[in-house]
């Protein structure tokens, strides 16, 4: 279980990292997905660029109602951030369910979303939060919605030479309810299905609902039919049951030895009901 040989650089500036990545090197974040793949020789990059020594890629801050989370911020830092726990509790709740404590100590949010494992936890939360992602490349910076970054299983819309700088999510407005729940695969902890909800109520009526679903399909997605069904209701148990039943409609669900497509859809509905009840009732 030893990786193939490779060259290694640990630049301290973003410019230097982008130069190296533009010449075909592969980015190394926390390594908690990449190193296992390299040990199995499923990936054999010739040159790794360790992003951990670049200061501007780390840390969590708030600016004008927007939270900025550096790409190299670890799951543990997100899980334990007092700022996020009060301003955006969905992210710490989600980060705290990833893998185990050792993995959360090393693994990073930027690495996780760039790897784009369809059973990873963050996508559900980031979709429910309408998160955006700032990306740096040789031509400067660009910002895309997290939803647009997702292309397919293990594939995101990053060009060669580009690197994720930070992830942005809004501070929760008053009367926001959020929840992430998942059916974990027993051995790995990855989500067979994971559902994140962010709902805002005003005058007792659901004024905005966002539902992100991971694990169910090749690409994590926003369950827009569920969101629409909830909007304008009072978010009662009956409203929740009716809306959650729509989550699997028209979805080409994953099927593997852990769960068939039909069972995954069933789990998605059950877990979505739980998440909605926690967020709304």
């Amino acid at each position: 279980m030893i990786p193939d040989t490779f060259d290694y650089s640990a630049p301290v500036t973003l410019t230097e990292a982008i130069e190296l990545l533009s010449s075909g090197a592969k980015a190394l974040a926390g390594g908690q997905s990449l190193i296992p793949l390299m040990k199995l020789r499923l990936a054999s990059p010739q040159h790794l660029v360790d992003l951990s020594r670049i200061p501007e890629l780390s840390g969590i801050r708030e600016e004008n109602g927007v939270l900025h989370i550096g790409a190299m911020t670890t799951h543990y830092e997100i899980e334990s951030s007092m700022l996020l726990r009060s301003a955006c509790p969905l992210l710490p709740q989600t980060a705290g369910r990833i893998g185990d404590v050792q993995i959360r100590n090393m693994g990073t949010i930027g690495g996780s979303i760039a790897h784009a494992d369809p059973a990873s936890d963050y996508p559900a939360a980031l979709l429910a939060l309408d998160a955006t992602v700032r990306i740096a490349g040789a031509g400067g910076f660009r910002t895309v919605s997290y939803e647009d970054l997702l292309v397919d299983s293990f594939l995101v819309a990053l060009e060669p030479g580009e690197v994720i700088v930070d992830i942005m999510a809004p501070v929760d407005p008053p009367n926001t309810g959020t929840c992430y729940v998942k059916a974990p695969q027993a051995a790995s902890g990855f989500a067979i299905v994971g559902v994140a909800v962010r709902a805002v109520k005003s005058d007792g009526v659901v004024s905005s609902a966002r539902v992100g679903v991971t694990g169910l399909a090749a690409k994590p997605f926003r369950a827009r039919s569920v969101e629409q069904a909830l909007g304008g209701t009072r978010g009662t148990d009956a409203d929740i049951t009716r809306a959650a039943a729509l989550v699997g409609d028209g979805v080409d669900a994953n099927s593997d030895l852990h769960a068939s497509a039909d069972y995954r859809k069933h789990l998605a509905e059950v877990y979505l009901r739980r998440a909605l009840r926690a967020a709304l009732i």
Partner: protein, 156 residues
Amino acid sequence: MKKTITLFINGQRYSHEVEPRLLLVHYLREVVGLTGAHIGCETSTCGACTVLLDGKAVKACTVLAVQADGRFVTTIEGIAANGSLDAVQEAFWNEHALQCGFCTPGMILTAKQLLAREPNPTEEQIRHGLEGNLCRCTGYQHIVNAVQAAASRSGD
């Protein structure tokens, strides 16, 4: 191309030229000669290779030695001060928290970090905190007892 790395392991400075692909656990065991971090599953699952990197528990089979350059590493060999056992080691002994002992170094280091973050953990917090360490002998109950005993001892 080899890289020169410098690590501070159990309070001592080590400098070596290593291949970038060398895993931290192999570096510790084969280059430095500290064999307390065990190689179990090699797939980032079992936690037998757990060491503290800058005080945080990590799986040394899933960290490159070059990633640890310039950082502080604590292995099981480094926690007994002046020949007397650390509180968690002592509690594992008293509570019979091991049989074969293979998982023990990783368990103890993860438990130490758990207690550093949460000095009075509930049973649920202990079980959640040790999720990344597998034991195939004891069934965990004695391990949980030991962590609780260590917590109450350090609270004395």
